[in-house]
Structure formats: structure tokens, C-alpha cells
Symmetry: C2
């Protein structure tokens, strides 16, 4: 049995869930609150980060290790192209969302609105939120440009880059903060992602005490 320890507001957990879903892997979820990790979690992953992947007694910790492991272990439905340069391009885009989008958008919006509230009880800092919302426009422009020429971020097929991007965006969208209207191609791409079977459970996610935006689970939004 494959067990994924995750949280619904952890973008890296969502990325792994989408990747496993695309690879048609069966798995069971166990939730851990990122702001209230149990001592056991540090035994499984001393870095204290989510997600953690468990399968037949093996523990694989961390977004990077898990995603590359999934790709090496389950080659039937690949999420990286065969060509080395194209693989590098997918990984460049993955890093864009895992690192740049995470720091510039997720940390400023989702962390402020969710983690701070549950972690310390503090209200979000409106100046930080504003920076995050500004940065989000820049990222949506880039996404719009990428999806103008291709069906998916790195070409005609869905790759790990799409999982990384949709994972981050879906949490901002849960909060109702994505101004989709100005970004037609990006919106069309996200609507395609939402209709994937791998996204079904993510659209059912809920965060205790925070209602999703009305359109969050709608395929037509």
C-alpha cells in the first residue's frame, strides 16, 4: 500500500497527488497539519516538510525526492519527456513554480491567510498580501504566454510542470485570489487541469474554517 502524508494547503503535497493520479497509482492519504506537526513526522522526515511517501516500509521524504522517484519507479505513464533537453525544460518550469511562485505568491498569500491564522492566530499583513497579488499577475502573464502556444506548459503533453503549477495555483484559487478573467489561455489550461481525474479529489479538498471560493470546484468557472 502507498501512503502519502500530506496537507490540503501544502502545494508540494498537491503536486505529488496530481503526479500519482496521472500515473494511475492507488494511494491512501493521511493528513498532518504543517503548523502542528507530530513528533512522529520528524522521525519520517527530519526536515519536517510535507509530503512524505511511504510504500512497503520505504520512506521517501521531500517533494524533489518523491517526484523523481515516482518517475523512475513508474515509467509506464511518464511525466517527463524522453529527450534530455526537453526534460531539462520541464524541470526548469517545475523549479519556477516550486521555488519562484512559491516564494513570490504562495508565501505572500496562502501563508499569510492560512498558516499564520492556524499557526499563530495572527491576521494576514495587508502589505504582504498586496505584494503577493502583484506577483501573481506577473506569474499569470507568464503562464498565459506559455499556454498560448501549447496545450500544456511544456508542449502537447501533461508533464510534472503542469502538476507543479496547478498545485500552487489551486490553493490560491481556493482562496478566490486568482484574477482568471485577464488571462484567457491560462484559464483554459487550468480548466483542462481541473477536468483531469487526478484533480478530482483536490477539488473536494476543504480547509477547516475557510470556505473555498464559490467557483473553486466548478469545471466551468
Amino acid at each position: 500500500m502507498v501512503l502519502l502524508i500530506h496537507h490540503s494547503v501544502s502545494p508540494f503535497s498537491r503536486k505529488v497527488r496530481i503526479a500519482m493520479g496521472e500515473k494511475k497509482m492507488l494511494f491512501v492519504l493521511r493528513e498532518e497539519e504543517p503548523w502542528n506537526l507530530s513528533a512522529d513526522m520528524y522521525k519520517l522526515n527530519p526536515a519536517g516538510s510535507l509530503p512524505v511517501f511511504l510504500s512497503d516500509g520505504n520512506v521517501i521524504a521531500g517533494n524533489y525526492a518523491i517526484c523523481e522517484y515516482l518517475e523512475e519507479f513508474n515509467r509506464e505513464i511518464p511525466l517527463l519527456p524522453q529527450d534530455l533537453k526537453q526534460r531539462a525544460e520541464v524541470r526548469r518550469l517545475v523549479e519556477w513554480f516550486d521555488d519562484k511562485f512559491y516564494k513570490e505568491v504562495y508565501r505572500n498569500i496562502a501563508y499569510e491567510k492560512i498558516h499564520k491564522r492556524f499557526g499563530s492566530g495572527l491576521a494576514p499583513d495587508s502589505r504582504i498580501l498586496k505584494i503577493g497579488l502583484n506577483n501573481l499577475n506577473f506569474h499569470l502573464e507568464y503562464l498565459d504566454w506559455l499556454t498560448e502556444r501549447n496545450n500544456y506548459l511544456a508542449g502537447e503533453n501533461l508533464t510534472l510542470a503542469d502538476a507543479a503549477a496547478a498545485a500552487q495555483l489551486s490553493i490560491i484559487d481556493y482562496l478566490g485570489d486568482v484574477p482568471w478573467e485577464g488571462y484567457r489561455n491560462a484559464k483554459l489550461w487550468y480548466s483542462k487541469m481541473k477536468s483531469r481525474p487526478s484533480f478530482k479529489d483536490i477539488l473536494k479538498d476543504s480547509v477547516k474554517g475557510i470556505l473555498p471560493a464559490k467557483h473553486y470546484a466548478n469545471l466551468d468557472f
Copy 2:
């Protein structure tokens, strides 16, 4: 010809230089200041991050994409083990240093002391430095524990995890901020890393206006 656009205080540039050195690849370096990137850099890497790898007209941007590309392209001297679970363990450690050490130590020490000075002319914030130095002790403890049982971080062979860790630490060591004395195994490991031919040029690195700590280039420190 392989060209690496880098900077001597970019830990991810150092990581790639060590990895290419270990793989006995020949390459030429071109320096770009992270706080003063040229417009051309954004054409090569829209994320504006270092390093960027160029080879025969191909551009590969970003730490993650470059390191995985090097491993896939040049298999003669591998920096990842063959076994899938061991590969995942190396990648977990890589993420530890690329992400956790970078945020908890590098950002608080090197960014404060170097990037702020050249980027904005501001002095380092002593409270932030103190947080970085405290975090550094925690990371050195972990490193000491890892190297107590093995020659290298993930076992008997040097892997990408050693490159990632030594890259980050070498910049903090340039600034003279690593309290090696309390961490015997970690010190022994770092001394081994310093004596690798792949490290030779890194020990000659200099940052304009900031002298290295006296022991920085000494193999016996």
C-alpha cells in the same frame, strides 16, 4: 564548449561547478552579479536565477534542471547511486541543503552580509545574522551526525548531496562564520571536500571587497 554563467557567492553555481568537476567535465565560467543581472540573463533564464548552463547552443537554466541534466547526460561518473531508494535519499539530502539550509542559514548570513551590501548598500541586520548563526549550529549538528557513520553524506561515495552541502557551507566559511571546532566529523568531511580537485577553483574564489577568512583556502584548518 560548455559555458557556465555563475557567481562565486551563488551556492547553486558552486554546486554545479563541483558536480561538473567531479564528472571531469571541462567548462568555462562567466560571472554575473546576482544583484545586478544583465538584460541578456533574463533572455537565457526568465527566472533570473544562477547558474545557467550553455552547451552547443542549448541553454539549461536553474539548479534543479542542470544537476539532473548533468546526471542524465554524463553517466560515466555518476553522482547518484543506482538503487532507486538510495537515489531518493541523496535527493532528500540535496533538498535539505538547497532549500532548508539555504533559507535558514544562507539567506540569514550570506544574503545579509553580501547581497544587501552590493544590492542596496545596507548594513546587515544583526538580529537576522544571529538567527542564521543559531540555525547554522543545528545544521552542523545534523551534518556531524550524517558524517559520523559514513565517509560522505549518503554513504561511502561522494554524491550530489555532498556537492549541495559543501557549496552552501563554503560561502559561509568564506565569511569565517562556521564554528568548525565543535563538529569534528563535519570538519573532517569538509576537509575531504576541500582536497577534491573539483574544489580547487572554489578555494581561489574571491568576492570583491570582502576578504576570505584566513583559513578559507587551507586544506588543514
